[in-house]
Symmetry: C2
Subunit: 246 residues, 2 copies
Amino acid sequence: MYSEKGKYSVEVCFSPLSWPLFEKDNTVVIITDIFRATTSICAAFQNKVKSIIPVADIEESIAYKEKGYIVSGERDGKKLECAEFGNSPFNFMEPGLQNKTVVMNTTNGTQAIKMVQKGDNLVCMGAFSNRDAICNWATAQKRNIIIFCAGWKNRFSLEDSLFAGSAVDYIIKNGNGDFHTMCDSAIASVDMWEEAKSNPRQYIEKAAHRHRLRKMGLDDILDYSMQLNINQCVPVLKGIEIVDIA
Amino acid sequence: MYSEKGKYSVEVCFSPLSWPLFEKDNTVVIITDIFRATTSICAAFQNKVKSIIPVADIEESIAYKEKGYIVSGERDGKKLECAEFGNSPFNFMEPGLQNKTVVMNTTNGTQAIKMVQKGDNLVCMGAFSNRDAICNWATAQKRNIIIFCAGWKNRFSLEDSLFAGSAVDYIIKNGNGDFHTMCDSAIASVDMWEEAKSNPRQYIEKAAHRHRLRKMGLDDILDYSMQLNINQCVPVLKGIEIVDIA
């Protein structure tokens, strides 16, 4: 798996700080923010939400709200004042959101989406919940792939890196021999996945963010967020919107 | 090990890019650059070199050379024109260097040393070759510890992170109950060490840097650099010099 064979590369960027070292043209970028942006985006599309507009600034969220949009958002796990609800995946499962567009603003995830929103890259959203679906779509694009971990305030995050490892592992094993990696962060994340894969939910108990969630009373989303392949969503950025192209 | 018990923390900074997120006062910083700065610094002290002056700029190396200093140095694995020799640990084992001061300039390691060279932090150099010695000294200082991986051009590096994992593991198990970690990068690096520790030399075969070394014809240092506890050096930064205080 660690050979230089396979005409396309798969790499892992552990934090937004490192993005300038990885940024290239003509790649597929899979953004992941397990707790909680990308898990919630997949939950939304499973619930037939029409589209999601990711925004990074609170002022932008307020402006959308004034135009009549449904606005969700949080900072450091707390609902934004301008938002109708926070970023828990459960919030996006409400039947009233079906066929609606939601404006989303999160601490790390939407910031990451804004960073890569340029050039000719194909940008999509990955989570444990849609891992196989998003990886199958990514490999079918026949381009180099970068998995971009949103992290926590520019820090390395265990849950995002663990997802990255599971995705690299899947892509290399199921990518028709087209993919290789020579990226140390990809190799390390696959090793984490090797250790975690028999019970990812248990593995993540030791993550710093898991303690952060518990302190904020938000650990109800853990069981949901660590489940593999519970939907088939392929959330892809098209212009300013994320839509499900599955 | 992942509890909040233990009054001092141990954290791992995966790359110089992330250093601003970790930088604090009153800590012990263990810098590691396995291929090759810190491994070579330990080899030098085992050979009774008197001191090492780390420099980051080539102009500075040239200025020291003009003052009559012995200058070593490389960029991207190639010897600097102004240097008498490169940064292989074997170069530092020459008997002629005993009781001498050597000025050292490396691609990643000395750059990292310069970054942390301020404030009241205690700065020391760790490698597989002096792991127990440096960790025992670090824990005895009764301060928070940060392991700073020099990486490769600001990227995550498998060998430096693997050393970090082995050091965190040792510090928590042998730190008299004084140390804990709540740092995701520390947790991930310990997991890497768990997978690698039965044969670190074999594990590192998959690292990108290992391929880089092979291409440059420098892979003769691999066996040497991956050996655990072959010396008892405690290289500590004192002013502008690194000295062995063991």
